[in-house]
């Protein structure tokens, strides 16, 4: 028998543990990509069903129903309505959970109406006893015309049964559960007669959604079957009521709930976590803890990585034959890779905390607590999630603003999120804080450096809130205040889910941003070690002659440093940096920092890598000093003062806190707002503001 692959679509409401089921089925054998043209995450993976059969599993975005209200949800219907899509499923798996089965079944009945073989997974089966819930599976299977797998991703049960059902998918009934067309028989009859070849429910979806899938002329449908928006919504409500009637009748015979057995764990925890005082205390306590741990915990692996790459570089220098290629490796490639690897610990820790908060169900409580406060600034309680995720990376954060129902609140969230301190700023902050803030402890426990970092985070967050407030006053948009937040039950986060999430996100960051960083490191190395004009070519002669003319005697090493410095100054990059120096000098920056800032417009963390490259090019190769020490010992050639003094450091920190310096973020804002207008505003206003603030800070502090 030839090998065959079954295409499986995993569908379900948010918060039902769909991703856990996906992880159980596929393990680490998954790929994360994007749907073409839009930035919805596309997750797919493979799993072996038996020796001849594999399943290709597509994890579709969570949705409450087939009535799409966002592009994420649109992906689901687009796939399910398009038989010609290469991913069109042979079988759909609707994932539901024990506690919310009633609501979850709404989506199930809609999928059944599409006449695709559909398996029902009831997840979190381990909670049944806790909640006093029992199912009569044969009855449910009969009423719902499906096969059911009771799964517990926590206890790892039921996956085998699910695989079994997948293997035998072609024996599944494709009959709908109920006849939804009875909500308006006359209307649906007419529809059926006009398009006899089409599935009625599909037509209904096309009419009610703003989509066009069936290769039908949409105008043809519209001219004959248009109803007003209100009428359609009334029909949709009727449809929903009808579906719930069916579901209620089904559950009456198929489900038993003994409420006396149910524990009120959720209510007790809610009372504390959303308490008017404790709620906020706990939330800010958690934030403080995260940032303290982030700085303390990751400093150990970071120092180790820093040291290792410095050692590697000098080892390679000593053992490879001297030449252009060796220079490229030791001065461009190795420091460039080091500049990426060093930030993995911090990024991984940050994603770890965020995914634990989300998995546990706590994040929804934060949304609930913060909504009223955030609304004063034109944001939504849901903006908290993008703003916190923004501390990892603005790109997924801006995408997570999609579930904000209200366009004005969503737009403001998108525009202000880049102010929050993303992990790309972290390396810049980390190195500058190390340089200018002493390693003392305040009140015995808090490290001054940790507190400084916290202040920078608060500054970014404060700026986000403040600019939201301004925009709320300036932007004139009519809006309805739609806001629906599901409060999922509390769960201990599954290690596996958290781990996979951390690995995937870190990988995406390292390979996404890393490519740019490495490429820029190499370009910068080239620009720094090549130049035009006689000054660059004859550096050695010029410097030696100069010393001889002044009749100063210096040792060989110092002479070589002087030659290298002169050469760098006259290289391509030196010329470039010097061109912009007049603009940035009032901020306390020299041309080397200028180059690093130019590089940062590709990605902020390039700052450190750039300086690493510049300084390693600028000093003699035997040196084992690490980037940080090199920066600390850098002095101004004329004044002899340290370059990275307190005033310059603060000025740089403020510049990086406020400036819009990330091309990828601008691109995502363009995609999400569908206009170049908003990213252009962001770039000009944020960077202009950063310049002014840094200017004032430096002039006051110097």
């Amino acid at each position: 028998m030839p090998n065959s692959t079954i295409k499986v679509a995993l569908i379900g409401n948010p918060n039902v543990g769909k991703t856990s089921v996906f992880n159980q089925l596929t393990g680490l054998n998954q790929q994360v990509g994007n749907y073409p043209g839009i930035t919805v995450e596309k997750k797919q993976g493979f799993c072996t069903l038996d020796e001849n059969t594999k399943a290709k599993i597509i994890d579709l975005p969570g949705t409450y129903s087939l009535n799409a209200s966002s592009i994420d949800e649109n992906v689901v219907i687009e796939l399910l309505l398009n038989k010609n899509d290469s991913d069109f499923p042979d079988v759909a798996v609707v994932v539901t959970e024990v506690e919310n089965l009633k609501r979850n079944l709404l989506l199930f009945t809609q999928i059944k109406d599409l006449e695709i073989p559909t398996i029902l997974v009831i997840n979190m089966a381990d909670r049944m006893a806790l909640k006093g819930i029992e199912f009569d599976i044969p009855t449910l299977e009969r009423e719902l015309k499906t096969k059911i797998a009771l799964v517990s991703s926590r206890k790892k049960t039921g996956i085998k049964e699910l695989k079994e059902l997948l293997l035998n998918y072609n024996q599944m009934s494709t009959e709908p559960c109920l006849n939804a067309s009875s909500i308006d028989p006359e209307y649906f009859d007419k529809l059926r007669k006009t398009f006899p070849d089409q599935l009625l429910y599909k037509l209904w979806l096309v009419i009610t959604q703003d989509v066009n899938f069936l290769n039908l002329d949409r105008k043809e449908i519209e001219s004959n079957f248009t109803k007003s928006h209100a009428e359609l919504k009334r029909l949709q409500q009727k449809e929903t009521i009808k579906r719930y009637q069916f579901i209620n009748d089904t559950l009456k015979v198929g489900q038993k709930i003994d409420t006396s057995k149910a524990t009120d764990f959720r209510a007790k925890l809610d009372a504390v976590l959303t308490h008017k005082i404790f709620g906020y205390v706990i939330f800010f306590g958690i934030l403080l803890l995260i940032f303290q741990l982030l700085f303390d915990w990751s400093s150990i692996p970071m120092e180790f990585i820093d040291q290792s790459f410095a050692n590697l570089s000098s080892y390679a220098k000593q053992n490879l034959p001297a030449g252009e290629l060796t220079n490229l490796i030791t001065e461009g490639v190795i420091p460039g890779i080091g500049g990426i690897v060093i930030f993995i610990p911090q990024i991984a820790f940050l994603f770890l905390f965020i995914s634990v908060l989300e998995e546990s169900g706590y994040m929804s409580r934060v949304v609930f607590l913060m909504d009223k406060i955030m609304r004063r600034f034109g944001l939504s309680g849901k903006s908290v999630v993008p703003l916190i995720s923004g501390t990892a990376c603005a790109i997924p954060a801006i995408m997570s603003a999609r579930n904000i129902e209200n366009w004005k609140e969503r737009l403001i969230t998108i525009l202000v999120t880049p102010f929050t301190t993303c992990s790309a700023r972290l390396p810049v902050y980390a190195i500058l804080i190390e340089l200018i803030i002493p390693k003392t402890r305040v009140v015995g426990i808090f490290s001054l450096q940790g507190l400084s970092l916290m202040i920078l985070y608060l500054l970014g967050f404060g700026m986000a809130i403040f600019s939201a407030y301004l925009m709320n006053k300036i932007l004139k948009m009519k809006h309805k205040s739609y806001f629906v937040v599901e409060m999922p039950s509390y769960k201990v986060p599954l290690f596996r889910n958290v781990a996979i999430n951390v690995i995937e996100k870190t990988k995406a960051f390292v390979f996404g941003a890393g490519k740019i960083i490495l490429a820029l490191s190499i370009i910068l190395w080239f620009l720094g070690s090549h130049g035009y004009g006689d000054d660059f070519k004859n550096a050695e002669t010029i410097v030696t002659t100069q010393f001889q003319a002044e009749n100063t005697t210096i040792d060989e090493e110092a002479l070589e440093d002087a030659i290298n410095a002169y050469r760098l100054e006259n290289s391509y990059i030196g010329v470039l940096g010097k061109t912009i120096e007049p603009v940035i000098a009032p901020l306390g920056y020299d041309w080397k920092i200028g180059i690093a800032i130019i590089g940062s417009f590709a990605a902020r963390e390039v700052f450190v890598g750039t300086l690493a490259t510049i300084y390693s090019v600028g000093s003699s190769g035997e040196d084992e000093e690490t980037i940080k020490n090199k920066m600390a010992s850098e002095v101004h050639p004329v004044t002899g003062k340290k370059i990275f003094n307190f005033a310059t450091g603060i000025s740089l920190l403020l510049f990086y806190a406020f400036a819009m310096q990330c091309i990828s973020t601008l691109a995502i804002v363009k995609k999400e707002t569908n206009s170049w207008k908003w990213p252009a505003y962001q770039l000009v206003i944020m960077s202009g503001f950063a310049y002014v603030v840094s200017l004032i800070a430096y002039q006051l502090l110097k």
Binding site: Q236, Q237, T240, Y244, V367, F368, K480, E486
Partner: protein
């Protein structure tokens, strides 16, 4: 007697009698916010808004202005 959903006290249960579908997002209807279904007020956020309900076994938070568009009658 019909009252607005926001007039419930914490812990009070009621049955939905009417929803103003013009003002209620479809998503909420789909979660079971429909005439005939049960609702219980679980929490009000510290600053008086939003409200946190158990609607038809769905635990959801909605804003006061949305909750005002839903009419209920108290369970006896």
């Amino acid at each position: 007697m019909n009252i607005a959903l926001t007039e419930l006290k914490k812990g009070q249960k009621a049955t939905i009698t009417e929803v103003n579908i013009e003002e209620i997002p479809l998503k909420l209807l789909e979660m079971g916010c429909l005439p005939g279904n049960a609702v219980e007020l679980l929490q009000i956020a510290p600053l008086g808004d939003p409200y946190y309900f158990n609607i038809n076994d769905s635990h959801v938070a909605i804003r006061k202005e949305t909750a005002n568009e839903i009419q209920v009658t108290l369970e006896k």
